[in-house]
Symmetry: C2
Amino acid sequence: MKRTFRLILEYDGAGFVGWQVQAEGTRTVQGELETAITRVCGAQVRVLGSGRTDAGVHAEGQVASVCVETEVPERRLRRALNGVLPDDLVVRDLKEVEESFDARRGAVSKLYRYSIWNGPQRSPLRASRALRLERPLDLVAVRRAAADLVGVHDFAAFQAAGSDVKTSVRELLRVDALGRSGATVDFYFEGTGFLRHMVRILVGTLIQVGSGRRAPDSIPGLLASRDRGQAGPTVPANGLTLLEVRYTPRGDPARSDANPQEKQALPLDSGSALRY
Amino acid sequence: MKRTFRLILEYDGAGFVGWQVQAEGTRTVQGELETAITRVCGAQVRVLGSGRTDAGVHAEGQVASVCVETEVPERRLRRALNGVLPDDLVVRDLKEVEESFDARRGAVSKLYRYSIWNGPQRSPLRASRALRLERPLDLVAVRRAAADLVGVHDFAAFQAAGSDVKTSVRELLRVDALGRSGATVDFYFEGTGFLRHMVRILVGTLIQVGSGRRAPDSIPGLLASRDRGQAGPTVPANGLTLLEVRYTPRGDPARSDANPQEKQALPLDSGSALRY
């Protein structure tokens, strides 16, 4: 019997060349997952992700869907997959969903975090998951600039050069920069969709604002320019984590059943779009 | 001119066989630090640590002292050392102190954290710094048992077999287990001194209490037994971090000057011994 499953995935991006299956011999999240499902269910499958994550980007709550012929109950299936998956990738949750569920098309919004270590020295214990900036960021200036990013805009200035998407219009629901335990600063971005490298270019630009190298009120002009050359640099991937993907109630029947222990405490966890 | 310095160190323990210099070809924190000082100051030196940390144990605030002939000002010396130290070791703070300062003898207490990931699945993003336990711990039971560990006791039951210290009497000032963001549980231990593997055996024993496999009121009997065989297992090193070493005001003249950004927010950061 063919059944459709929704998977919530956590992975350490350091060991992957990204989400999407690529040339033979490269290690991808999608590839490892498909191999594990084949081993457990004995069938070749295609796993759909909510979107691609780039090489080095981590996930605490990436969502994927797969349709596969199996009789194994959900819990046993999840355990069997985790038994064969490598250490840096885990299925946190697995639920049978209606046949029409598509992790990519059904996604309503995604929440990303970018972490910065703002201490006076580099930090060996944080280096693998955060960008180090020596000078403290002016978070008041950052938040002023961030407010102008919220809403529906053409984000052409914030996409990797050479992208060929149909439209670079996207909607950002929330952008914030929060200081946390000492000198860590976390940027949060929730949006209905993201262009290639968009979060990392947004962070690179907001860092310029927070360092006094770009005016807090310069965002509207930058958006209007649609010019990648005028935005900030693309910051490294290792500070970026896909925290959560949200679905419509219809597309996400299993959500309310999720183990509450697994629910990440999110400082921005309000249901509504937050403006400043 | 010979000057004495106090260094505060952060390191990722994964790449070291421990603090103390050992056989040729093994990578130790002490060894890397001595090599760096030799490169910067041109002199062979011996660095004294507040104590040894075992292979795999991390530090956010290990303290070391060194006496070396140099004219270089503190700030430049710190930067020069960090420029030649490997990525997994950093000097967070460096201050000139009085000649008599000895990082080991002057230490009044040490604060350790042991992190446990108590989620229903393993966690790739936490695996390198936390022990995974599948079943949630009963923290009320753990705290009841922990209260009996506070104070001056003979901790012979909680030391690695084969240790030959003069006395196994030590004083624990604070022991606590705190739930944090989702399914993470952090154990904190502050004491005037620790025996070999003591924190890790204490954690192994408290986990048994929190899992219902040992009575919360069994600690006094276990201490009285002085029998390593009756205590819990030694949990893995990778969950353990030396957070801070405290000194008497006399032994630590530089403390109040420390950059406030570097100060770790400690949930147990009260000056007095905490009983339950």
